[in-house]
């Protein structure tokens, strides 16, 4: 049976993190309380666990497992993840009012390619647009009016206001 390279890589990553945590923990100052092992004890426990398990993974990686995602699936994954990053960026720049309806529209349109296969591109576009606007209003009412939450204003919006 073929040994799992993936598990070996996990072992090396785990060992690497353990060594890094150990190095970082050594820089933490001890406490003056009698009997207290100090703030470094707990992260060191985590590091020891990861180091031991990492070594086990390197030495005995086990058998090769089934494919997690295909190349195409990884591409889809990256596509949606880029939307997550775009959402964060839009929230930072444009704030809640700009980011929410825009992103709701974009993500809904993107996902509708899976579940609205019987609809034309134009129909999907219109549905997503309506959902983006209505959803944006609902979220605004919920967060800003009902929950009285302080949502991001966006640096561009703040600059425009000034």
């Amino acid at each position: 049976m073929e040994k799992s390279t993936k598990n070996r890589i996990l072992g090396f990553i785990s060992l690497g993190i353990a060594l890094w945590v150990t190095y970082m923990s050594m820089g933490l100052k001890a406490t003056a309380y009698q009997g207290d092992p100090g703030p470094r004890m707990f992260p060191l426990i985590g590091a020891v666990i990861m180091a031991v398990c990492g070594i086990v993974m390197i030495v005995a990686p086990g058998q090769k497992e089934k494919v997690f995602l295909t190349k195409e699936q990884w591409k889809s994954c990256a596509k949606l993840f880029s939307m997550y990053l775009l959402l964060v960026l839009l929230l930072y720049l444009g704030g809640f009012l700009a980011a929410v309806p825009v992103m709701l529209f974009i993500i809904t349109y993107m996902l509708s390619g899976l579940s609205l296969t019987d609809k034309t591109k134009k129909q999907r576009l219109v549905t997503s647009l309506i959902f983006g606007i209505v959803g944006g209003i609902v979220l605004y009412l919920m967060y800003v009016k009902l929950l009285d939450a302080k949502m991001p204003e966006g640096i561009l919006m703040s600059m425009l206001r000034k």
Binding site: K6, N7, I9, L10, S14, I17, A18, V21, L28, T31, Y33, Q34, G35, D36, P37, P39, M41, F42, P43, I45, G46, A47, V48, I49, M50, V52, C53, M57, E65, F68, L69, Q73, W74, S76, C77, L80, F81, Y84, L85, L87, V88, F96, V100, L104, I107, T108, Y109, L111, S112, L114, S115, L116, F131, G135, L139, Y143, L147, A149, K150, M151
Partner: protein, 499 residues
């Protein structure tokens, strides 16, 4: 105040427009999300966590328990009608439940599942009410040594009893311990691992942002990548509920055994509904006179799986409310919601916060009844639940998750933590690291560290004190024994199989 007075107060609070909305709405929303394969009610709870900060904590708990019960009861709908489990707890319901749908008799399996849901969860909540009081009375006597040992035991039990590669589970635990160490030291309040000198790290990684990234954002990412949703075409007609009297009488002892199995497994940390249903199904199949019918449309299979997974809810409430130890992922979310409001869950929780505890019990009993009534009278609407357009639901969940992450810290720090945790979640899935041991260790780490260090401070004997105290020593030995069992049992099974 007497127990009845707490129940009456909780009932009074629920009988307000907000209370009714929370309990009825939470139950139905949980049931719908529980029915839809992929999302699950836990996603709803995660996205509600940041909002719960603005709610009255007792009402938030009523909402959360309603979602949990609704979600568990809704899981069988996807299993029976689509052949795809709505939640992992209803995985084995597919084996026999879906066979009835193929034969054109989905109502028979659904009716059995509805009865099982009610018989599973309501009596188990009553058991929790009785048992919690006794366990909590005992728990207040625990010192930091026993409590640290209990947390240690709980984490090791999750690793030892969970399925999959245990070494990978332990890597998850180690990683969780490290990530939980970031921030303020619990004893002297000095900063630990303040990366790039940023003071934001003093607050550590907010559990809400961690869960939003690790669950909501990651789940949708992987669901979209795998693109399973387009295949779920449903064309089934469901008739109304018919009480399965003959099947019920025939399977009365099976139901009782499944209930006991579920309640006991629910009590053990980290197992919950999925393991309860699998174990109960396997037991009953083993005990059955005619095993050939199991997996080909045996109604006992539906009773066994659904009674056990619902009974696990009450079982999991006992360690959660009496000891502050989460039994499953849903219980972790309860603790996170309480922590958000500055309430620490531990052995003193029942004594200090009885209003919250009895609200959870009352909410659970009411929610169980609402589920039963809705599923009895609204069975014909089940197929409609599975036709909810995913693109609307998923895009809304993504927005709610990220806005919630922002709200949890009121800064972009929370958002970035959620994005990073989403990546971490995908990597963990890629490498096969189970998320439950990671999550359990992450939520229990602060309590574990605090109590270990208090134990070491309070006693001149240092670490030896943990082994001198009978209870503490028992928990440590039990935890290690379960871990060792988890390591050697697959080897033993392999050897026995060869012989």
């Amino acid at each position: 105040m007497s127990v009845w007075q707490f129940f009456l107060n909780a009932l009074k609070e629920i009988c307000t427009p907000t209370g009714i909305l929370f309990v009825v709405g939470g139950t139905l929303a949980g049931m719908i999300l529980g029915a839809i394969p992929g999302l699950g009610s836990s996603t709803l709870m995660v996205i509600l966590l940041p909002i719960s900060y603005k709610m009255d904590i007792t009402m938030a708990m009523a909402l959360f328990i309603s979602i949990t019960i609704g979600g568990m009861s809704g899981g069988c709908i996807g299993s029976i009608l689509l052949g795809i489990p709505g939640t992992s707890s209803s995985m084995v319901t597919v084996f026999d439940g879906y066979e009835f749908t193929k034969r054109g008799m989905p109502s028979k399996a659904l009716s059995a599942a509805v009865v099982s849901n009610f018989l599973g969860n309501v009596p188990s909540v009553i058991l929790a009410i009785v048992a919690c009081k006794a366990v909590a009375a005992w728990a207040v006597k625990l010192g930091p040594w026993e409590y640290a040992a209990l947390c240690f035991c709980a984490v090791l039990m999750v690793v030892g009893l969970s399925k999959g590669n245990m070494v990978k589970s332990m890597i998850g635990v180690g990683l969780a311990i490290f990530l939980a160490s970031v921030g303020e030291d619990p004893i002297n309040a000095s900063g630990r691992f303040l990366f790039f000198g940023r003071l934001e790290f003093l607050d550590g990684f907010n559990i809400i942002s961690v869960m939003l990234g690790l669950f909501a954002a990651k789940i949708i990412l992987l669901e979209y990548a795998r693109q399973d949703k387009q295949q779920n075409q449903l064309d089934v007609k469901v008739e109304g509920f018919k009480f399965p009297a003959a099947d019920f009488i025939k399977n009365k002892w099976l139901i009782l055994r499944a209930w006991v199995t579920g309640a006991v497994i629910g009590f053990l940390p980290g197992l919950g509904g999925p393991v309860a249903s699998v174990m109960s199904y396997s037991n009953e199949k083993m005990l059955a006179k005619d095993k050939s019918t199991w997996g080909h449309g045996e109604i006992g299979g539906v009773f066994a799986a659904e009674t056990a997974n619902n009974a696990a809810i009450g079982g999991a409430l006992i360690p959660l409310l009496a000891l502050g130890i989460p039994g499953d992922a849903a219980a972790v979310q309860f603790i996170a919601a309480l922590n958000v409001q500055g309430i620490n869950v531990g052995p003193m929780f029942m004594r200090e916060q009885p209003a919250i505890v009895y609200m959870i019990f009352t909410g659970a009993l009411l929610s169980g009844t609402i589920v039963f009534l809705f599923q009895t009278f609204g069975m014909k609407t089940f197929p409609a639940m599975l036709k909810i357009p995913y693109h609307f639901l998923y895009s809304m969940v993504i927005l709610l998750a990220f806005l919630g992450a922002y709200m949890s810290t009121n800064s972009f720090y929370g958002l970035l933590v959620a994005v990073c945790c989403c990546v971490l979640g995908v990597l963990m899935d890629f490498f096969g690291i189970p998320s439950l041991p990671f999550l359990m260790a992450y939520i229990l780490s602060p309590m574990l560290e605090l109590n270990i260090r208090r134990g070491l401070n309070y006693s001149p004997r240092g670490i030896a004190e943990f082994f001198r105290r009978p209870l503490s020593c028992t928990f440590i030995i039990l935890g290690i024994a379960v871990l060792i069992y988890g390591f050697i049992s697959p080897v033993l099974k392999k050897k026995m199989g060869k012989k």
